[in-house]
């Protein structure tokens, strides 16, 4: 009852203030638009707005960022589905099936599923966040130290290797390539430069934004351009037929499973929505009867990925507000907003600024609900982008990606890196490798190495220390079983005959 009263108080404070309403609506629309514009993302918007939050009250500043976070994660699904360009890494698995659906003329259904499931995942996650922040934060933080987070990363990579590429081996090699890209730069313990080849740019490591833009957006343009050149190009069919309630209800188990996975991943600092989306997708593929059709335009793929990544947004606020630990780039910027107002996120925020906490919780709840209303309207209009002929869309996307890559650090070399990644992605996709696997390896590589180093220091460099940590041990065993199961399958199982689902849409990864 106390929680409900607090929520009502937060809602009254949010909507009783015209400035608050204006900022809330600005965040909802801004997050969706920036998430949906190819080449830029909610992070671009957040980075642009960060200096201006100094002029806002702390409540408004944090509320604005939390609203952008919720709607931006959804917004990225639109470009993932329509153009195979994930707005953010957490939307990457959405593209796996969303884009093939677009090519099959089912863009409306995919976008509709993304709208519904983003709203459901985010809203449920918000409700759990309100009721359980303190308890869950206590448990997760005490139960999940570096060994467990490393084990979770290992498990996530092991599962991701088994999907996404043409074969298990290519999936594994894709992930390892991503991990190697992440090695470039400074080592996380001693700050020693690795593989910089005397180039100052490489000393800072390869930034993941240009790499993501290259592997997804640019390589997609190249793939379509090749089809244009060889006469195999087919324009995506336009559709605004949203999925029926019955169609979505058929996947209720996938929704519930993805909410749980998303929430659990979101709560862990440094893991967040990206692993949530990949794991939500992977588990959907693992448990589906149509396992082999995943990647060819299964609505369940979109549902599971979008539910999981939005479910992670509410959960990501728990370590941020309860312990001051950001789970990703946007929550890290929120720490910046706190600091600009001479505040530190952490347990004291609940004691000293309960109003702020509940205004933020209420704003996130309503932002997720507004995805349903504004999202459908936005989707109806933005799907029409598919009417633009590809020869005009291609330069637009390439230039947007150029601006997006340059805006990160103001370095033209980032643009070169992006286009080189695009060429690499083009050739890797032709050979059946998974660009999504490379990106996952790149993003989780740094976390994996850092937590491994911390874990080994914690365990006094004894690998047997993992045996005394049941969660870490369980995750490591599960990961090992996944890998050895795939290897066993590769050598000893009879290979399945390809299905009829291999239409032209399939070359989406």
């Amino acid at each position: 009852m106390e929680t409900f009263n607090n929520f009502l108080g937060g809602t009254a404070a949010l909507f009783g203030d015209p400035v608050g309403i204006f900022i809330f609506l600005g965040g909802v629309i801004g997050g969706m638009l920036f998430g949906a514009i190819p080449g830029v993302s909610m992070l671009t918007l957040a980075a642009i707005l960060l200096p201006f939050t100094a002029h806002l009250s702390p409540e408004h500043g944090i509320m604005l960022f939390s609203v952008i976070y919720c709607t931006g994660v959804y917004g990225g699904a639109i470009t993932a589905i329509l153009f195979n360009i994930p707005g953010a890494p957490e939307n990457a698995p959405t593209a796996f099936d969303g884009y093939p659906m677009t090519l099959q003329g089912k863009a409306g259904k995919a976008v509709g599923a993304a709208v519904m499931c983003s709203a459901i995942g985010g809203t449920v996650s918000c409700v759990i966040m309100m009721f359980a922040t303190a308890a869950i934060a206590d448990w997760a933080i005490s139960a999940f130290g570096p060994p467990e987070i490393f084990a979770l990363v290992f498990f996530g990579l092991a599962v991701a290797a088994s999907v996404g590429a043409k074969t298990f081996w290519k999936g594994w090699l894709s992930i390892m390539a991503g991990l190697m890209i992440a090695v470039v730069g400074l080592d996380p313990v001693g700050g020693i430069e690795r593989y910089n080849f005397d180039m100052p740019y490489l000393a800072a490591g390869i930034h993941f934004i240009p790499t993501i833009l290259g592997f997804f957006a640019v390589s997609e343009i190249f793939v379509q351009a090749e089809k244009k050149a060889t006469g195999a190009y087919k324009a995506p069919k336009l559709s605004v037929d949203f999925p029926t309630f019955k169609e979505l209800w058929a996947h209720k188990i996938a929704v519930v499973r993805s909410i749980i996975i998303g929430f659990f991943c979101g709560i862990l600092p440094g893991i967040g929505a990206t692993l949530a989306a990949f794991m939500g997708y992977n588990e959907a593929a693992r448990w589906s009867k149509d396992r082999l059709k995943f990647g060819t335009g299964q609505i369940e793929g979109v549902i599971s990925s979008e539910t999981a990544n939005n479910s992670a947004t509410g959960a990501a606020m728990i370590p941020l507000l309860a312990l001051g630990l950001p789970g990703g780039a946007l929550t890290a910027m929120m720490v910046g907003v706190f600091q600009m107002h001479d505040m530190e996120p952490g347990p004291l925020v609940f004691l000293n600024s309960p109003d702020l906490v509940w205004v933020v919780f209420a704003a996130m709840f309503f932002a997720n609900l507004s995805i349903l209303l504004v999202g459908f309207l936005e989707a109806k209009t933005i799907v029409n982008l598919l009417r633009i002929p590809f020869q005009y869309l291609a330069p637009m996307i390439l230039l947007l990606a150029t601006v997006g890559a340059y805006a990160v650090r103001g370095l033209t070399i980032d643009i070169v890196v992006m286009f080189v990644a695009g060429v690499a992605g083009f050739f890797l996709r032709r050979s059946g490798y998974s660009v999504a696997g490379i990106i996952l390896g790149l993003i989780l590589g740094k976390i994996g190495e850092q937590t491994f180093a911390q874990a080994m220091q914690m365990l006094h460099f004894e690998f047997s220390g993992f045996l005394s940590r049941p969660i870490a041990l369980g995750l490591l065993i599960a990961g090992a079983i996944t890998i050895f199961g795939s290897i066993y399958g590769a050598f000893f199982k009879k290979q399945p005959v390809p299905t009829a689902a291999q239409d032209d849409s399939a070359q989406s990864l």
């Binding site: 043409k166 074969t167 594994w172 001693g190 060889t230 080189v420 050598f491 290979q495």
Partner: protein
């Protein structure tokens, strides 16, 4: 039964060479870290070992099952990869490699002009480092860019896909010197032509539309600073646009 073909062997050779290359260079940072006995090399070397194992595993799998080896969850998504394409073959790859190398020639212009073979052809006192504040650098950069662009056009004449792959990298390589504002219109037209547009009136209408929308949104509205270049008159043009829009 041995079902290996030449592309399987090239693939495994590529991965193993990559492993060898990175393993060799890992000795450059093989130093002790006081608080971490595994140092900075354990992680990358473990990854390299796993890459080598996966590459060999893939080879053995392909030897047994050929191209249908261990189909994955998303195998179907890749079935048309590289099958219906007209591109491929050694000449195509060589031609594309040369095309992709052209932008890097420009990016390493100073190093190329410093080569002993090139030195006799340069005027006395010429600064091969091409500093931004040297008025003599601009014409050299423009000339080299034009020469390389002509080379790009000639080499890509029969290689449409290679031209598409190389053009954006070429565009990116020139950005530092010639700026976004001068190059973007040319780039838009270039991409449209490569994507099959041939109607001049359409291109004349669409190019300013795309360019104008981008500038209005990013430069005018969001104040995003894009590269203005450092070679006159491109630098002057870029600054003029920024001044007008902001």
């Amino acid at each position: 039964m041995n079902r290996l073909n030449i592309s399987h062997k090239i693939e495994v050779a590529f991965w193993l060479l990559l492993v060898g290359f990175f393993f060799y260079h890992s000795f450059e940072f093989d130093r002790e870290i006081e608080i971490y006995k595994y140092g900075a090399t354990l992680w990358p070397r473990t990854i390299l070992l796993l890459i080598a194992l996966a590459a060999i595993g893939q080879l053995l799998d392909q030897r047994k099952n050929g191209d249908r080896s261990s189909s994955n969850t998303m195998a179907a998504a890749h079935e048309d990869s590289a099958q219906d394409s007209e591109i491929g073959g050694l000449p195509w790859y060589l031609n594309t490699f040369v095309l992709l190398a052209i932008p890097f020639f420009y990016m390493n212009l100073s190093a190329l002009l410093s080569l002993p073979v090139v030195q006799p052809f340069l005027p006395e006192g010429f600064n091969a480092a091409l500093p931004v504040d040297d008025p003599g650098s601009g014409p050299v950069k423009i000339t080299c860019a034009v020469v390389l662009f002509v080379a790009y056009l000639i080499i890509s004449w029969r290689n449409h896909v290679g031209a598409i792959l190389a053009l954006p990298i070429f565009f990116a390589a020139l950005l530092d010197d010639f700026g976004f504002y001068a190059l973007a219109p040319v780039f838009i037209i270039g991409v449209m032509i490569l994507m099959g547009e041939r109607r001049i009136t359409r291109m004349a209408m669409i190019m300013p539309l795309i360019f104008g929308l981008l500038l209005a949104f990013f430069v005018s509205l969001l104040y995003v600073g894009l590269p203005t270049g450092n070679v006159k008159p491109f630098y002057t043009f870029g600054n003029w646009i920024v001044t007008v829009l902001q």
